[in-house]
């Protein structure tokens, strides 16, 4: 079993990287684009014998307390088999 955690700035927080990439893409003529947000992905392998519920709970905690800073960031946890 694997977990995947997406971390990015909250939608209301300025994302300088996304903003600069967006401006560059538009400058290169990609006019279909209106916004870019950048984030991080963590792929985490879960040890054998752990239940889905246990894994989810643990990864939620890790995401909230370590991987993301809830002051400015939001995260999403996915458990994949």
């Amino acid at each position: 079993m694997k977990a995947r955690v997406f971390v990015s700035y909250k939608s209301t927080v300025l994302d300088p990287q996304g903003q600069t990439v967006c401006a560059a893409l538009r400058g290169l003529g990609h006019r279909t684009i209106s916004d870019v947000r950048q984030g991080k992905v963590f792929d985490i392998a879960i040890a054998d014998g752990v239940t889905r519920e246990e894994a989810h709970k643990e990864i939620e905690t890790i995401a909230h307390e370590i991987l993301a800073n809830p002051v400015i960031e939001e995260y999403r946890v996915e458990i994949v088999d």
């Binding site: 700035y9 939608s11 209301t12 927080v13 300025l14 300088p16 600069t20 800073n69 002051v71 400015i72």
Partner: protein, 736 residues
């Protein structure tokens, strides 16, 4: 309009009296937006309402002062047609909440303060305080805060392209829940090209440039307000994200736009954003400003006037241009890919008038808003006292020196400063740990600027007045040690809750001590910052007045700390100095070996200090010093070791004639002392005699080792290699 409910007023941190004053100024009840505007302008941060009365005691004028307090930065004439702009500012609370972004935006804010005056930033230094890294309970968090703060400063400064050339970093439990991040920045400008944050000229356009406005950092008051749901609160971060790339573009574009001659006045949007910049520019120019919020570039939809006016989004500037020449300004900002929008106009009626969808949502007289903020003479009694002299264990000098050299406060901070680009702009004549003061050259004039930051919380806790004086003396001494003449100062006053009379007493005494010393050394305070309510678990931090003092010298190879050659005379300029058990209580020895704080800080004789500094500058001017290092934390033994850590590892054998106990002799921290090595001891002696200071030859430089004797009896002898390794590697082991 109806009166606001008492709890809404309280949430805005306004007292009933302050609210009555607002009603009196307006002649009516304020709108919600107006309430927000008053609350930020009259906050402690913007109005200095607790400290203003006492800040007036500081000397602010001088022959070289072009601009004192009241602008974005102080300005000093350095000759040759150039001026420097500099200031120090704190970003303590944001750095605790989000260390990386808090520190980064702290750097961004102070850099804007400098370039808004037309000066290109050429140096940054920082003064940092953290909790203990090895504390079982708080150590892990403190290490994370330290790592984040350093990385944040590096991220912003390195990307922006300003060298971080020095600073200081100290650890005490009192900073556990309240780190201090004080950032100093300095810039250079032609004298006739200084810009001021002053609006003028009825009908002139008010132009907004830089990043768009979002709901960043809108003050706590709004978050507590009833109209926001919990979810909305979650989304409204009090911490802003810095964009150093945007700031770099803003710098280049602003300096270029200034050269067009079409700009009348300019101010950055820092704390209280659009509110502060519009009202202060209007107030300084004794004019009104009218803006339409619909024209403010916005990052988010549906922002209220309250939110737009109070947003603290970073990397934004407000400027007033000459009517009819707007296009010249816009052209420059377009070139740099930046947004610029005309959001309003200068008026004659002296009012800040804010419209939203055409409707007036705030109308406040500028002068009253900016200058008639409440002023408090808060009660002050006596600063808290330290404990009595404890039983002092005997600790052998031989064992103690390595312990002190590997202690957090004293050991090399290379781990920190290697993360900073300290060389960009190729002006760094002396960067971190090479000299007592950082030196940056001014390519245009052949002059260099030396800069020193200092503040000792332990000394200041024992005596706020003496602690502040000692900080001024230490900064000036650091400058003199590289041959620079101190010319002006900036201060950052980090204190606890001023509503507690004993804390207020600390603040008052520190300001008075600073005033006395700055007047004495002729280093007027040209600006700075006050940060109050710094507490850990309800206990105030040590009173921590941090000084930043700048000096000037001719550009040349610097006299650095390490001994250069063997067989040179080692002279202790200023003599062995005095100490007793009481005066020993604030030292690093007391902290690391006795593990207590007691008594009084080292005794400072201002007259003698000045003479030592004059002599030092004379010695350097005559080319007599091969190395120079002042005695501070850890006293004589630590200074001697640091002088031996150069690439050649040349040490010294010294023999001191003194009655002091061995550990006191080696580690006391009396000021007014500088250790130099020279080929010309007689010439140095002649200068010392002229300035009526002691300057005993205490020893001679030798290869590979350090030895300290007291009247021929050896107190300690060390191989340099082992000491240097301990000193160089300690920090990294603490950080892990």
């Amino acid at each position: 309009m109806t009166a606001h409910a008492p709890e809404v007023i309280a949430q805005h941190q306004l007292t009933a009296d302050e609210y009555r004053k607002i009603v009196a100024i307006l002649g009516r009840e304020p709108s919600y937006t107006e309430l927000g505007i008053f609350s930020v302008m009259w906050s402690e941060h913007c109005s200095y309402k607790s400290s203003r009365l006492h800040l007036k005691k500081l000397p602010t004028r001088g022959r070289l002062v072009v601009q004192g307090p009241g602008e974005n930065a102080g300005i000093i004439d350095i000759g040759g047609g150039y001026v420097i702009a500099f200031k120090i500012e704190s970003h303590n609370h944001p750095s605790f909440i989000e260390p990386f972004q808090g520190a980064a935006t702290g750097v961004g804010g102070i850099l804007r303060d400098i370039f808004t005056m037309g000066a290109r930033p050429i140096a940054v230094l920082d003064s940092l305080r953290f909790g203990r890294l090895d504390d079982p309970k708080t150590g892990a968090r403190n290490r994370r805060i330290l790592g984040g703060v350093v990385a944040g400063i590096a991220h912003y400064g390195n990307c922006f392209g300003v060298p971080t050339v020095g600073g200081e970093c100290i650890f005490e439990p009192c900073y556990d829940g309240n780190p201090l991040v004080n950032v100093f920045a300095l810039g250079i400008c032609k004298k006739e090209e200084v810009f001021y944050a002053k609006a003028a000229g009825e009908g002139n356009p008010v132009i907004y440039v830089g990043a768009r406005t979002g709901r960043d950092g809108i003050h706590g008051a709004s978050m507590a307000s009833a109209e926001f749901t919990d979810e909305a609160k979650q989304k409204r971060p009090n911490v802003q994200v810095g964009d150093p790339f945007m700031e770099k573009l803003l710098l280049e574009a602003c300096l270029e736009a200034m050269r067009t001659g079409a700009i009348v006045g300019i101010q950055d949007m820092g704390a209280a954003g659009l509110t502060c910049s519009t009202c202060e520019m209007g107030s300084r120019g004794e004019v009104g400003i009218e803006i339409e919020l619909d024209r403010v570039p916005q990052r988010e939809t549906g922002m209220t006037p309250y939110e737009i006016m109070l947003s603290e989004s970073q990397e934004r500037m407000l400027l007033v241009a000459e009517k009819g020449r707007e296009e010249e300004v816009y052209r420059v900002f377009r070139k740099w890919g930046l947004e610029a929008a005309e959001i309003g106009v200068v008026t004659e009626d002296g009012k800040l008038r804010v419209r939203h969808h055409g409707v007036v949502v705030a109308e406040i007289p500028n002068r009253e808003l900016a200058d008639e903020a409440p002023l408090y003479d808060r009660p002050h009694t006596h600063p808290p006292r330290a404990g009595l002299i404890p039983d002092l264990p005997v600790s052998k000098v031989q064992r103690t020196l390595p312990t002190l050299l590997s202690s957090l406060d004293i050991c090399s901070k290379r781990w920190i400063w290697e993360q900073y680009d300290y060389q960009v702009r190729t002006n760094t004549v002396a960067g971190p740990e090479r000299t007592d003061a950082a030196i940056v050259r001014i390519k245009e004039t052949g002059t260099s600027i030396a800069i020193s930051l200092d503040g000792n919380g332990r000394y200041s806790f024992l005596s706020p007045r003496e602690g502040a004086k000692l900080a001024v003396a230490e900064c000036c001494r650091n400058l003199s040690t590289v041959g620079a003449r101190p010319v002006a100062a900036t201060n950052c006053l980090n204190f606890g809750n001023p509503e507690r009379p004993e804390i207020m007493a600390q603040l008052v005494e520190a300001i008075e001590g600073m005033a006395e010393a700055c007047a004495f050394f002729d280093t007027p305070i040209t600006g700075g910052n006050v940060s109050l309510y710094n507490e850990t678990l309800g206990e105030g931090i040590y009173p921590t007045p941090v000084l930043g003092i700048v000096g000037t010298l001719k550009t040349a190879e610097p006299v650095t700390i390490p001994f250069k050659n063997t067989g040179r005379a080692v002279i202790l300029l200023g003599g062995i100095g005095e100490c007793d058990d009481t005066r020993f209580g604030g030292t690093q020895y007391a902290k690391e070996i006795v593990k207590q704080l007691w008594g009084l800080p080292p005794a400072l004789d201002l007259e003698r200090e000045k003479r030592v500094q004059f002599a030092m500058r004379k010695i350097i001017a005559e080319g007599l010093a091969e190395s120079a290092h002042d005695l501070s934390d850890g006293g004589l033994a630590v200074a001697l070791a640091e002088c031996s850590f150069g690439p050649n590892e040349i040490g010294a054998l010294i023999d001191v004639d003194s009655d002091l106990r061995p550990e006191m002799l080696a580690f006391h921290e009396a000021p007014s002392r500088i250790l130099i090595s020279t080929e010309f001891p007689k010439k140095v002696a002649a200068i010392a005699e002229k300035y009526e200071i002691e300057a005993p030859v205490v020893g001679v430089t030798i290869e590979k080792g350090i030895e300290i004797r007291q009247r021929t009896i050896t107190l300690g002898a060390w191989e340099i290699g082992a000491l240097k390794t301990a000193y160089a590697q300690a920090f990294e082991s603490h950080v892990r």
